[in-house]
């Protein structure tokens, strides 16, 4: 059975992006979002913005092997 979120999500996409649902597989893919939403909801509270400046590129350089 199709999750409740599918139809309103399709409508939101159409309104915000002007993209219509292209096929049945796309609807099936939206149903997959329920699991992603649950995962992201589970992370709430654990993921906060840091006060200090940081970036992914800076982390790559900071974490290089010693001596490199």
């Amino acid at each position: 059975m199709e999750p409740e979120l599918v139809v309103p999500t399709m409508e939101a996409i159409r309104r915000w992006s002007g993209v219509a649902v292209p096929n049945a597989a796309a609807r099936a893919g939206l149903a997959d979002h329920a699991a992603l939403i649950a995962e992201l909801a589970a992370l709430r509270g654990s993921m906060v913005f840091e006060d200090e400046p940081s970036s992914f590129e800076a982390a790559l350089r900071d974490l290089k092997e010693a001596g490199r």
Binding site: S17, A28, L36, R61, K64
Partner: protein
């Protein structure tokens, strides 16, 4: 299944095609093989077998033979030779060459003529490589299986009913089939490492920013990587040495000096500390995959490596955010075409892109902002006190094209998406990662070992992979087409 054949015998034209990239380059440099003979050996393999494999989109036969003759003449004249001189290659059809069509595996760009040449192609040209043409790929590099509705599915040379892996499908299948010695792939969620695994070859995704992306079709600006599919870790080391390094045209490319990667291939991994990440990467893995993975760890331990089992609490967030970034960036890149030409996409592609428009902007920003902190956390969990992280590249046995075909049956969605479960996290983390053959499953399809290391530690993963290949022969086995 096509029974493997040994590639030890390398005499004659067919034997030349069995050489690795570095063996071919070194044979040319030593005067033991001409570039013309190497090119003709590759062309003969393509002529004989690509009708079944379908790895090639455009074959530039005459241009390749002319370039080979020029290389032979240059060597005869005593001119300096590049490190890849005389070696025939083909590349995923998303690397732009000025004036040539770059289809990106799509109907939408079937007639797109590239306005410039990709930096990596320029560097391969300068190293003396011979470009024979372009390769089949997932449409816009957007699937992990090798399906292509516009140019035909690419078929696994080990068994034509099975997936090649994607999105660099032609690159993996063609290197495995000995059609050429090396191929560029691209890797946004595993698109080099997956076809390397499924086709039984070696594939390297370097550190994010290590190889410039100028003149390469974008899929996800944050996670796209350029890299090779080849036969051996030594091949990957030489290829990376040629292609890595800062490019003014790509301001995101790293300024770090490019080391001599081949010099790191000592064969000595005594004391190498390997962490096996037991969180997520082994969940639900098929028994033949686990058996081959454990056997590979035994080989590494027998060479003096120390293997430790670890867990990583960061994996849950990494997996969730990985899914957000590439979906949103892909949706943004394709928005105009999705509005104006949705029917020009394959079903499996438009259906994947569609979901990206639903993800809230704040989650995308959050996924990007957490990338640095999660990289730091993962490194603390898995690489503080360790040199390499080991996982299977693909959790399952190689699937068939039919059982991952969303276009035919949307019920295949979950199996399709599961293919890249073990590769995607390393794109979010940006870590250098290699996949190399480590066995075969009970149906005769290849299994891959994935090794990752700290940022810019390509030499470490290459050293470990090369040491493994010095005492095993999985990478030497070729499908009997």
């Amino acid at each position: 299944m096509n029974a493997p054949v040994s590639t030890a015998a390398t005499t004659g034209a067919s034997g030349l095609a069995m050489l690795s990239m570095t063996e071919a380059a070194d044979a040319f440099a030593a005067g033991e093989a001409t570039a013309t003979a190497l090119t003709e050996a590759c062309l003969a393999r393509i002529d004989a077998h690509d009708g079944a494999v379908n790895s090639v989109i455009r074959l530039d036969r005459e241009a390749a033979l002319e370039a080979a003759a020029a290389a032979d003449a240059a060597r005869a004249a005593g001119k300096p030779l590049g490190p890849l001189a005389g070696v025939p290659m083909m590349h995923k059809d998303m690397y732009y060459r000025a004036g040539k069509v770059s289809t990106c595996g799509s109907k939408i760009r079937r007639d797109f003529v590239a306005p410039k040449t990709a930096t990596v192609l320029q560097r391969l040209d300068a190293a003396g490589a011979i470009d024979m043409g372009t390769l089949n790929m997932a449409e816009f590099a957007q699937n992990p299986t090798g399906h292509n509705a516009h140019f035909g599915d690419c078929h696994n040379p080990w068994d034509l009913a099975y997936c090649t892996g994607g999105s660099s499908s032609g690159s993996g299948a063609g290197v495995a089939a000995r059609f050429f010695y090396a191929a560029l792939g691209s890797d946004t969620g595993g698109s080099i490492r997956l076809p390397a695994t499924l086709c039984g070859v070696t594939g390297l995704k370097a550190t994010q920013t290590r190889v410039p992306r100028t003149g390469v079709m974008p899929l996800s600006f944050s996670a796209d990587n350029v890299g090779p599919l080849v036969r051996t870790a030594r091949d990957a080391a030489r290829f990376l040495g040629v292609t890595a390094g800062r490019c003014p045209g790509d301001p995101t490319s790293a300024p770090e000096a490019v080391p001599d990667y081949e010099a790191a291939l000592t064969g000595d991994i005594r004391g190498l500390r390997i962490a096996v990440c037991e969180t997520s990467f082994l969940d639900g893995a098929d028994a033949p995959v686990v058996a081959a993975f454990e056997a590979a760890l035994d080989v590494l331990q027998a060479q003096g490596a120390v293997v430790t089992r670890r867990s990583a609490a960061s994996m849950r967030a990494i997996n969730a955010y990985t899914a957000v970034i590439s979906r949103v960036e892909g949706a943004a890149i394709h928005a105009n075409w999705m509005r104006e030409h949705p029917g020009d996409y394959a079903i499996h592609l438009s259906s994947r892109l569609f979901g990206g428009y639903a993800l809230p902007a704040h989650l995308y920003v959050e996924a990007l902002s957490r990338r640095g902190p999660l990289l730091r956390q993962f490194v603390a969990e898995m690489l503080d006190g360790f040199d390499v992280v080991a996982t299977p590249t693909l959790k399952t046995r190689v699937p068939t094209l039919a059982e991952t075909d969303i276009d035919a049956d949307p019920a295949n969605w979950a199996r399709f998406m599961a293919v890249s479960a073990n590769t995607r996290p390393f794109n979010y983390l940006g870590l250098p990662t290699i996949s190399l053959p480590c066995g075969f499953d009970d149906r005769g399809l290849p299994i891959g070992l994935q090794l990752a290391a700290r940022p810019f530690a390509e030499a470490t993963v290459l050293r470990a992979a090369d040491a493994f290949q010095q005492v095993t022969d999985w990478h030497r086995k070729a499908p009997a087409l």
